[in-house]
Symmetry: C2
Subunit: 214 residues, 2 copies
């Protein structure tokens, strides 16, 4: 393959990724076909998604991976600063700030937060995306650091709070991204203040006593 052909290939790939992310963020994963992605990306070949990614699922995982590298790097840097910190807030911060900082770096409009919120409503894709992300070394390290600082919880409560934490981060970020795009975000708020509010709330959530009524 000539270099120019290979360059064009990776440009097309990038264009498909960016277009698909926006369409999935706006309309949901199931509402948008591979053909619509190809057309919206200006590809004369309606099978461009199939050719470059194989399937819609692989396209979605490629969009996820496109962002996860930057978040992984941010998390590794944060973790390096806090070896053995006794402050739960520091470890929760490693769950929140790689995401908020990454979204802030994307500018306005970004689509990633809303894209992830849409993917999370899809039963099988959600599992694949969560499994893929939770194999991340840095995330495991952050979660381990966190669990050393919270009282022992029954396994179902731990799972439930982990779900709640994920929902809070995903949907607070998606709501803020949507508000920034629509111009309705609180003018005094920043991604950093959103992160600080999330860290406070998640610390409260993880330390909350478990009601005897359960």
């Amino acid at each position: 393959m000539s270099p120019s052909k290979s360059d064009r290939g990776s440009e097309t790939r990038e264009l498909l990724l960016v277009t698909a992310e926006r369409l999935f963020a706006e309309h949901g994963v199931e509402a948008v076909s591979n053909r619509q992605v190809s057309e919206a990306a200006g590809q004369s070949n309606n099978f461009a998604v199939g050719y470059h990614f194989g399937s819609k699922e692989e396209l979605i995982l490629a969009i996820v991976r496109r962002h996860s590298e930057s978040m992984e790097r941010r998390r590794t840097d944060l973790l390096a600063e806090l070896t053995g910190s006794p402050d739960l807030r520091d470890w929760v911060s490693c769950l929140v700030r790689p995401t908020t900082q990454h979204i802030a770096s994307l500018g306005i409009p970004s689509w990633y937060a809303r894209f992830i919120a849409q993917v999370m409503t899809h039963p099988s894709l959600r599992e694949r995306v969560i499994n893929e992300s939770f194999t991340s070394r840095s995330l495991k390290q952050a979660l381990e650091g966190m669990s050393r600082l919270i009282p022992r919880l029954p396994e179902d409560v731990r799972q439930e709070r982990s779900d709640m934490g994920r929902l809070l981060i995903v949907h607070m970020c998606a709501e803020r991204e949507r508000a920034l795009h629509a111009g309705t975000a609180n003018p005094r708020s920043t991604w950093e203040s959103t992160a600080a509010g999330l860290v406070d709330a998640l610390v409260g959530l993880w330390l909350a006593p478990v009601s005897a009524r359960r």
Copy 2:
């Protein structure tokens, strides 16, 4: 209008409400047209939604109202039991349990939780639905009872935690409704255990110290 004609009218109205709720829950509010709702409800007249509700927005508010009466009644009953309770958990319960109990009463599959989750991603509809619900007398009473038992918070933190609380209730219920429908819900969990977990978490969230870094 003859009685039978009026009966048919209210049957059609009901059929449109039920069909629209399911379609909006599955595909999102923007992805589904009034025409699609009419067709899926088996109406030969494609303008049935327009005729019975005027607009998509009015149709959506009618679906919301169809459920809110039952939740309002449940909340009023709960509030009657706890006059002046000094336990924050009781007041938070009045925010959570009317919703979880109502969804439980709908059986499987229900669509209401997923419908509300979809509506909440729509900027203008979200405002209308929140405004409509927050004028509810019982909800105001529960929120007032709650705020008497939490430390004074800066207004932006109060607003942010109120958003987080709403997101947690809406999306935990939508995830559970989706899992019940797909047969993937944890077999030991119930709507009551979901409510208990949410109440614990929300109490922790509201009582969480506000970080000085904000």
